[in-house]
């Protein structure tokens, strides 16, 4: 029962926020406005959805903003010459950086926050190399030809939303109905027990990091498509909000507890809070302050302290 209530707190918070802002500014509830808001949130959700798996393991991935920036550069630089191949290379590069993080964590036994910080540095270098250290523009023709799935619209709804929904459904199935999903949950709750029962924990972790890198890569591609350019610093402000989405949605950093739909709700909360702050007159710069505090608070609330003997 207590857990049910805990599950619903983020949803309730989302509704409260939405109605709060609607009371402040009635135009907010117009369907087209809500759809735009959701579309704007999708890149953040894509980025956060992959990290959800890593956080559920009890690990963290700090390389996602670097990965997203890198894939935006790769797509922008390669599209004119290679077309669809550019997309494949970008997504593969995202997955590959996740693979690198996972291998470093597994085989060098380096804690994930340092491993991914380091991989993030390497990935940023790759981004600068791919983009020749500047912003690379994506021409309108290339955009129409290859990125319509991300920026066009279908049945009157922006394709970002469709992309986000597809990711939501696929990842939810992956987490809730597959062996891999169950393993992620198990490793997050009781890693030693899982090791003791003879399951290859390393493979589960590796897969989760690959997934996180892939989704961050996808987020970078969509971000680049939306902005019409790729740049090595494109996603630099996204790490904190992305982790905030996961935690605010109710996934605990101690691992074991969480869901992809929670991250979806978390992403909407982050977006609505951002809009709300703009309405109240908080500048973009000051929003970072609020997100920093929200992150700390959300971690404090969702963390399962019985699991860690000493908090370092």
């Amino acid at each position: 029962m207590k857990e049910r209530i805990r599950d619903l707190v983020p949803v309730a918070a989302l509704f409260l926020l939405v109605f709060g802002i609607a009371g402040y500014s009635p135009g907010f509830m117009r369907p087209d406005n809500l759809l735009t808001l959701t579309a704007d949130t999708m890149t953040l959700f894509l980025m956060a959805s992959g990290v959800t798996f890593v956080i559920m393991l009890g690990s963290i991935d700090l390389s996602i903003q670097g990965v997203a920036s890198m894939t935006s550069c790769i797509v922008a630089a390669m599209l004119p010459e290679y077309g669809a191949l550019a997309l494949a290379v970008a997504l593969a590069a995202g997955a590959l950086s996740g693979l690198a993080s996972g291998l470093v964590v597994n085989y060098l036994r380096i804690p994930s926050f340092v491993a991914t910080l380091a991989v993030g540095g390497i990935v940023t270098s790759v981004a600068y190399w791919a983009s020749d250290t500047r912003s690379v523009y994506i021409s309108q023709e290339d955009q129409d030809a290859w990125l319509d799935w991300a920026t066009g619209n279908f049945l009157g709804i922006d394709n970002e939303i469709w992309t986000g929904l597809v990711a939501l459904v696929l990842l939810t199935v992956l987490l809730s109905f597959t062996r891999f999903g169950r393993m992620v949950r198990a490793v997050g709750s009781q890693e030693r027990a899982v090791i003791a029962s003879g399951i290859d924990v390393d493979r589960v972790k590796l897969a989760a990091f690959v997934l996180s890198g892939f989704m961050a890569g996808l987020a970078g591609v969509v971000m680049g498509a939306r902005l019409g350019s790729g740049s090595p610093t494109l996603a630099n402000e996204f790490l904190l909000p992305a982790i905030a989405c996961v935690i605010v949605g109710g996934t605990a950093i101690t691992g074991g507890v969480g869901a992809v739909w929670k991250t979806f709700v978390g992403a909407l909360i982050v977006a609505v809070v951002r809009i709300g702050m703009t309405f109240v007159g908080v500048t973009v710069f000051a929003q970072q302050i609020v997100f920093g505090l929200v992150l700390v608070l959300a971690v404090a609330i969702t963390m399962d302290r019985s699991k860690v003997a000493t908090v370092k």
Binding site: I110, P232, L295
Partner: protein
């Protein structure tokens, strides 16, 4: 064990030899001064970070604290935005401000019982937010030429920033070797439970150490402001990465308990010499972050005592 202790110095010497072979300019007095000058601010930063990492924690708020204290410093000396003119007094105030933020880091981490990397990640972003929001995204320019001498001025051809960094190292070394705080840091890093049972005030020490790290970051912020003649939200970008790299490359273990501020001195020199060497050899600057990333991975995997780690998160 003995061998491992000397590994960082051996790496530094080898690195210098290799670069000297490829680029004769490396072994000149002017280049040595350039290296020392580039090492000054990172040196101050790692002094604080070392204590935090010795406890097995981490401080990811470095960039936030440095940029905020740089903004504080720049707005307290003669500048283009405020009417303040405190001159050198801006430095102790920046250090106090840094110490206060560090104490908030520590208190958040200890009292709310959340891991330090999350607490400092959040607070670091808060600081970055404050320093950009307070200025609306614009820099504060320092008009006080005299003040800028604290890093730029030279005595015996060596920039003052280098002397300040040296003083910071001495202070940190004394704290590490001669005070109870220093011994408690090692005790907590080695085994927190045992430390607690033998009467070490774990909570207080943790908060104090984060405050200490904040003071060093505050000093670094003041130095950065004086060096660049301004304060703004992005003044510290890249500092966190260099700091963590330097500490772990120097041989201080992220698991806590093993290492020393002297290790970190060597670590900073390795990172700075490597950067300097890459510039001399014409390697594009953007490769440096990647090389530092690789360095972190190699150094940490060499320094980790794997017997202690059955589960790595």
């Amino acid at each position: 064990m003995k061998l491992r202790a000397f590994a960082p110095i051996a790496v530094l010497v080898l690195l210098c030899l290799m670069i000297a072979v490829f680029s004769p300019n490396f072994l000149s007095v002017s280049n040595a001064i350039r290296i020392l000058n580039a090492a000054a601010i990172p040196m101050v930063l790692v002094m604080g970070a070392t204590f935090v990492i010795l406890m097995g924690s981490i401080d990811l708020s470095v960039e936030g604290v440095v940029s905020l204290t740089a903004v504080v410093t720049a707005s307290l000396v003669q500048n283009n935005l405020t009417s303040a003119d405190l001159g050198y007094w801006a430095v102790p105030i920046a250090m106090l401000a840094g110490g206060a933020i560090g104490a908030v880091n520590g208190a958040t981490h200890v009292l709310m019982r959340i891991p330090s990397f999350m607490a400092t990640l959040g607070i670091g972003f808060v600081c970055l937010g404050i320093s950009t929001a307070a200025l609306g995204g614009f820099p504060v320019r320092i008009a006080d030429r005299e003040f800028r001498n604290i890093t730029l001025g030279r005595t015996f051809d060596i920039p003052h920033g280098v002397y300040i960094a040296l003083a910071a190292v001495i202070v940190a070394y004394i704290i590490q070797q001669r005070t109870r705080l220093g011994r408690w840091v090692y005790a907590i890093g080695t085994d927190e439970t045992t430390a607690r049972q033998s009467g070490v005030p774990v909570e207080r020490t943790r908060i104090l150490v984060f405050a200490l790290a904040g003071i060093f970051s505050g000093l670094a912020g003041a130095l950065a402001a004086a060096q660049l003649g301004q304060g703004h939200g992005l003044i510290a970008s890249g500092r966190l990465f260099t700091t963590v790299t330097a500490v772990v490359v120097g041989g201080t273990a992220l698991s806590g308990g093993v290492g020393s501020v002297l290790n970190s001195v060597v670590g900073v020199l390795i990172v700075v010499v490597l950067t300097n060497g890459m510039v001399l050899m014409g390697v594009p600057p953007f490769v440096q972050q990647g090389v530092q990333g690789l360095l972190i991975i190699v150094a940490v995997s060499l320094a980790l005592d794997r017997r202690l780690l059955s589960v790595v998160k």
